[in-house]
């Protein structure tokens, strides 16, 4: 076993555990914003680590693997951001109802008053 295979196997195991923790956060968290927070970041890191591990195990595949990693790195935050904004505009259920931490509603009111 070369050093590249050891690092690749370690990255695959770490990435799959991160994917599991992200799915556990989606299952356990109380409302949709917490689920977005817990699920998307952990699953992005897990997918990137797993795919990079495969790229280290098979060094001939590294270019296409890097393309997939780049695509995941920009597509996952965009989709979670769009989903969070949509659920906020639909007045989705919030577990923490403190008005002080809901900064986006003030920006939304300012945008609506400017129109």
């Amino acid at each position: 076993m070369s050093i590249l295979e050891i690092i690749g196997g370690l990255l695959i195991v770490i990435g799959s555990i991160f994917l599991f923790l992200g799915a556990l956060g989606i299952y356990r968290m109380p409302d949709v914003f917490n689920r977005l927070q817990a699920g998307t970041k952990a699953s992005t890191l897990g997918a990137m680590a797993t795919i990079l591990g495969v790229g280290l195990l098979a060094p001939g595949w590294i270019f296409k693997v890097l393309i997939i990693i780049l695509f995941i790195a920009y597509s996952n935050p965009i989709s979670s951001h769009a989903l969070a904004r949509a659920m906020h505009k639909r007045k989705g259920y919030m577990y923490f109802k403190d008005e002080d931490i809901d900064a986006y509603s003030e920006i939304e009111e300012k945008d609506n008053s400017e129109k």
């Binding site: 994917l19 599991f20 989606i26 998307t40 995941i72 989709s79 949509a86 505009k89």
Partner: protein
């Protein structure tokens, strides 16, 4: 090295089951869309692992196209929920 792939695929299957439970239970449409997004991400990782396990280079293209389609689907559903489509 194959046992590491088997272990990772088992852990990913458990994660897929948890996301599928949230997809079934989820009280709002956003929860279901989020669970679908996570299932797509886990599926892309599983397909890349299967490409290494079966030694098929062409499966990486399948993973890339699956990721693109899942991304576009989530964006379209989010814009629809925003009443902006």
């Amino acid at each position: 090295m194959d046992y590491i792939i088997y272990f990772s695929l088992t852990v990913m299957t458990l994660a897929l089951i948890l996301a599928a439970v949230r997809f079934y239970k989820g009280p709002s449409a956003g929860d279901r869309t989020l669970a679908l997004d996570t299932m797509t991400t886990i599926g892309v990782s599983s397909i890349v692992l299967l490409a290494y396990l079966f030694d098929r280079y062409i499966y990486l293209d399948v993973a890339l196209v699956y990721g693109v389609l899942g991304f576009i689907g989530v964006i379209v559903i989010a814009r629809y929920l925003e009443k902006a489509l």
